[in-house]
């Protein structure tokens, strides 16, 4: 390296090096652009396979409350309700738990505890979803059944499993956000006589809000897209439970589980096939909505903070 550097420097038109640099630059560019291309292709494929469903299946069938493909009943409502119930349940469990863990780890816990907790939580993220699903099937479902539900395979069972799956995401990202809050904020709050609790709740957490929102949204994204664990523990009954608290303790069928369970045996190009892809479009739209909502929330939050700082 030391030998070649002056040699290249002595020749202004260092052709080989210039060419190599250009190559690498282009390769990086191609790698970056290919991501866009792949997303575009996925979206195109999804639309090509899924859109025909909206022409082949009458709208009142798609909006119907019955999913029974072998009788051409393609009501998406029970699947949508199923996914929503499981996800809402997961968020209700995971967000407070995750947030509190992050605050404890970032603000309260002594250093040695944090050094044990952090790798343990990262390990939780490394557990394959199918293992968690198996745990839900073998351990959790019998517990819920003993608690009085007719069956342990319910939306709630799925919610608990999904909550545990989204916890590492929520914890580590919100902890990062808390960590990014300048030390001066805490010092200032403590200096004007605030207790530690007041400092955390009134100063540090609001200051880290945008990061916490991103953490929650990413957690939701993980929950709604998860398939295998949910397929194993929610019972897969395409049923719309009656409104009320009890609806979480009913078996449901999620959109992802429906695609996973039925795609393998469906005839290529059939109405059923197209409808499964239409569910994929629906999932895509929902995730896209959540992400852009998160983006907007974070955006306005950031602006407000900047203006208040000025």
């Amino acid at each position: 390296m030391e030998q070649t550097a002056p040699f290249i420097g002595s020749r202004p038109a260092a052709e080989p090096r210039h060419w190599g640099e250009w190559m690498i630059e282009k390769l990086i560019q191609v790698a970056g652009l290919s991501t866009i291309l792949i997303i575009a292709l996925i979206f195109f494929f999804l639309l090509r396979e899924g859109l025909p469903a909206f022409f082949k299946v009458p709208l009142h069938t798609l909006l119907g409350s019955r999913w029974y493909p072998i009788e051409n009943l393609f009501g998406l409502l029970p699947l949508l309700v199923g996914s929503l119930l499981v996800t809402v349940g997961a968020v209700v469990i995971a967000v407070p738990l995750g947030l509190v863990t992050a605050i404890y780890m970032g603000e309260i816990a002594p250093r040695w505890q944090r050094e044990i907790l952090k790798p343990l939580i990262e390990m939780l993220a490394g557990i394959p979803s199918i293992v968690l699903g198996f745990l839900g099937w073998v351990v959790l479902a019998p517990l819920i059944q003993q608690a009085g539900a007719p069956t342990g395979l319910t939306a709630f069972t799925g919610s608990i499993i999904l909550a545990y799956m989204s916890l590492p995401t929520i914890i580590s990202i919100s902890e990062d956000a808390l960590y990014a809050v300048p030390k001066e904020y805490r010092d200032g709050a403590l200096a004007i006589g605030a207790t530690q609790w007041q400092t955390i709740w009134r100063v540090v957490v609001p200051a880290a809000r945008s990061g916490i929102v991103i953490a929650i949204m990413l957690g939701i994204g993980r929950a709604i897209g998860e398939t295998m664990a949910v397929l194993m523990v929610t019972g897969n009954a395409a049923n719309i439970p009656a409104l009320g608290f009890g609806m979480f303790f009913q078996p449901v069928r999620t959109m992802t589980a429906t695609i996973a369970a039925e795609m393998g045996e469906v005839a290529n190009g059939s109405v059923h096939y197209n409808t499964l892809f239409a569910i994929g479009i629906l999932l895509f739209v929902i995730t896209f909505g959540i992400n852009s909502l998160a983006g907007r929330l974070v955006g306005t939050q950031g602006k407000r903070r900047r203006s208040s700082q000025l």
Binding site: G152, A237, N239
Partner: protein, 306 residues
């Protein structure tokens, strides 16, 4: 004829050997040569095996496994439905017809007009056991009661003589053949104009094992599964009657085999006249231990041991 073809094939082999750089060509040539060498003239044509879609996977598995038993016999398996297979047998275009029902008298008469006497071979049994938790006091049901349970007209075990507890319904996924069989023969009670379907609260399990393990731990659950999947120590099999006046029959290999169990059906193969040569030995192999092991592997009820 063979003498003329053989050197040609041989020289082709040499030519390809010279041309080819990889081993793929070589193996292709060798297999071509063995067929020409060993296959006797009468077996040149593949055995045509056509019919029932229920049987098609089983028939394919048999045909594949039989290649290891007698590599000189080629069997071509096609589906299309029982009716298609029987029609092909009558017209002489199929050697073996697969059927998930017995041939009707009309079909037999038609075949006889064409100078063909169909000979029936039972090759496997397709029996469905309705299972509940051993703690459940209910041990017998009629088909009509089962239909009421699975369509949601009955939702409490009390209505069929059990405890005051909700019924938890378990079924296979809709893409399972077993699901469709149960739908037609139990939920719709074999009535053609009956359009009943499973109640939406039915839990759809991705596998047979999913049904048995949920039944094991849930005293309120009821499900159905191939007899091969049921472990009588952990799941109780319901005795089933066609109607209230008929006897209640428990599912077993014996009751499945003699036809007394109402939701079991024989799966048949028909040949045109008494089979001879390779067809006879093929059917004999199917009904023997090797063929029946494949039956069990694919979730059907094997024939009672001979």
């Amino acid at each position: 004829m063979l003498f003329v073809r053989y050197p040609f094939k041989f020289s082709l082999c040499v030519l390809l050997l010279l041309m080819a750089s990889g081993g793929i060509w070589i193996s292709a040539c060798q297999s071509g040569a063995t067929v020409a060498q060993t296959a006797p003239a009468e077996n040149q044509r593949a055995i045509q095996n056509k019919g029932s879609d229920t049987l098609v996977n089983l028939a394919l598995a048999w045909a594949e496994a039989y290649r290891n038993v007698n590599p000189t016999v080629a069997i071509a398996v096609t589906g299309g439905g029982t009716g298609t297979g029987i029609a092909a047998l009558i017209n002489g275009t199929a050697d073996i017809a697969n059927a998930s029902r017995k041939m009707t008298d009309d079909e037999i008469a038609q075949a006889k007009q064409n100078g063909i006497t169909p000979v029936e071979f039972t090759v496997a049994i397709d029996a469905l056991a309705v299972i509940v938790n051993p703690a459940n006091p209910v041990s017998k049901l009629t088909i009509a009661q089962l239909a009421d349970i699975f369509t949601g007209r009955i939702t409490n075990w009390q209505a069929v003589g059990g405890n005051d507890a909700p019924i938890v319904l378990l079924s296979r996924e809709t893409n399972s053949g077993t699901h469709v069989y149960f739908l037609e023969n139990v939920v719709r009670q074999n009535q053609k104009d009956n359009k009943d379907i499973f109640v939406p609260q039915t839990l759809l399990m991705p596998s047979s094992v999913g049904i048995t393990s949920e039944v094991r731990r849930n005293p309120n659950a009821i499900g159905y599964d191939g007899l091969g999947y049921v472990d009588p120590e952990h799941e109780k099999m319901i005795a089933i009657a066609v109607d209230k006046k008929s006897p209640y029959i428990a599912p077993s290999v014996a009751s499945g085999a003699d036809g007394s169990y109402p939701i079991a059906r024989g799966l048949y193969m028909y040949t045109a006249g008494e089979p001879k040569g390779v067809i006879a030995s093929y059917l004999d192999w199917i009904q023997g231990p090797q063929g029946q092991k494949i039956v069990a592997d694919l979730g059907f009820v094997p024939l009672p041991k001979r």
